[in-house]
Point group: none
Chain length 266, copies 2
DNA sequence: TCTTTCTTGATTGACTGTGATCGTTTCGCG
DNA sequence: CGCGAAACGATCACAGTCAATCAAGAAAGA
């Protein structure tokens, strides 16, 4: 006999994977009866952890917010090796005593893991990054005000007044949806706005983007390339794109995922 | 025969491995009787090290960091029963759709646990409360901007500009250091200031304070009693203090820790 | 040694979660 | 539009679990 909470965990994890579950599937998955599973779904809906639909339940995240951002755990698995290498190389650009900004993103989250030994001031609008830094590093953490969106773990605010207007950073490390000759691209207007707001607190923008980010996609331009000081990517980046970036005066750092260390810096 | 502490260690380590333990499992694991193990679980829950559920107990930090555990171990052990009763009674004052404020405090943290079924907007400057609400409830969470202080898990900012200036709450629930005829008392000036700032976003102040909070101590007055609408405390509160609060027009709710439900409301 | 206190284990009645069975509602297809 | 199949909510009986109580044993102190 499986415990109630175990079933809940199982249901929620399955829901996270697929976005929707059917009661019949859950019967096979948990071994419980349909009546019990219906009760489970009712309770989980009461506590807001899913939304029931006819035939099963769907993830509450998909319909709850207007954000198009993907769930954090999901994006974490895509190109994890590349992102880790890029994050590691970016972390090498930091020094103790710096004040830096990390926007919400999987690459910056990997970067936060590389900052365990550092002692800096870090401004971030990402809940998981703040969590990582507070729990496992000596860095000071500053947060912007706003609503905490559950599923992407991002703090967003529609207002301009904010305590972070008093924050001055030596560098901002920005993870993005894509980077093209038009500039740094995001897919969601609210997120783009939040990143632009963070960007106003520094003059030095370091874009961290693994080589898959050089495809043109997305539609919200956060800032033009002229605003970018440095791009940290991996050795798989398209050479003509690297050349172009360098031709407009951007430092490009290429991290080798095999060696997990910096190979070249323009 | 196994010693009490050995069992506790065993229970907690098992809880760390899996996210959940059943009483029946523990019988086989420790050799003790179910009655003893129930008592163990009750004690461990009182000290905040796990959460009892029907059939056993689950990890209090499912997917969370050690932050909540470390920051609340100290205050959680003090009057946990009273605080839980007070928190539960205070949660009954909330309705779905409300916008409320919870300041950082152990009583308000217990209260957050009572809000699992609710659907409200909650503004809080407490990291562990935000964590609890995001992970286990359907409530929306709003955070003020500022620095996140590690050990108490509080977000503080020396500046006035903040996105929360756009927040309007129907109620604020305030946990405090003490409450005296002079008003609501805190021990730290920075915390007092943060609470005063939160307080400015609502007209309705509900102070949640177990009966031990009526001793005069501390030195920072957050606000006078005239600002207080309601006090939620337990049946152990000094009668003359209850009378005095009522004489100045404050609603007093007395929660009975034995029955875990509201007995009287003035 | 005797007493006091604490811990333990068994018993009781009440409660909760579970699964099966109803009748009803909803969905999908012709 | 109407029909059948599937899904749903309500209800009931059963099993497992819970809190309270009491008695027995162990540990600590006088």
């Amino acid at each position: 006999m499986m415990h109630e909470r175990e079933r809940w965990q199982l249901i929620l994890s399955r829901l996270k994977e697929r976005g929707i579950v059917r009661v019949a599937d859950l019967v096979g998955l948990t071994g419980a009866s349909v009546a019990t599973l219906r009760r489970d779904l009712a309770k989980l809906e009461d506590s807001g952890q899913l939304r029931r639909v006819h035939g099963g339940a769907e993830s509450v995240a998909s319909g709850q917010t207007a954000l198009t951002a993907t769930s954090f755990d999901a994006s974490q698995t895509i190109n994890a090796e590349l992102k880790r290498a890029v994050a590691c190389a970016a972390a090498d650009l930091c020094e103790d005593g710096d004040s830096i900004i990390l926007n919400a993103g999987s690459t910056t989250w990997f970067m936060a893991q590389c900052l365990r030994g550092h002692r800096m001031q870090v401004l971030t609008n990402s809940w998981p990054i703040a969590q990582e830094l507070i729990a496992h590093s000596a860095n000071r953490v500053v947060l912007p005000g706003g609503e905490l969106y559950r599923e992407p773990g991002i703090i967003l605010s529609p207002f301009d007044e904010d305590a972070i207007q008093h924050f001055a950073a030596s560098k901002m490390f920005m993870s993005c949806y894509a980077i093209t000759p038009l500039g740094v691209i995001e897919s969601d207007p609210l997120i783009a706005r939040a990143e632009a707001k963070l960007l106003s607190r520094t003059e030095n923008l370091v874009v961290v983007a693994d080589s898959s980010k050089f495809e043109a996609r997305g539609n919200m331009v956060v800032c033009p390339l002229s605003r970018v000081s440095t791009v940290v990517t991996d050795t798989g980046a398209p050479p003509q794109m690297v050349d172009h970036l360098r031709s407009v005066g951007i430092d490009v750092v290429l991290a080798d995922p095999k060696q997990m260390k910096v190979l070249s810096a323009a």
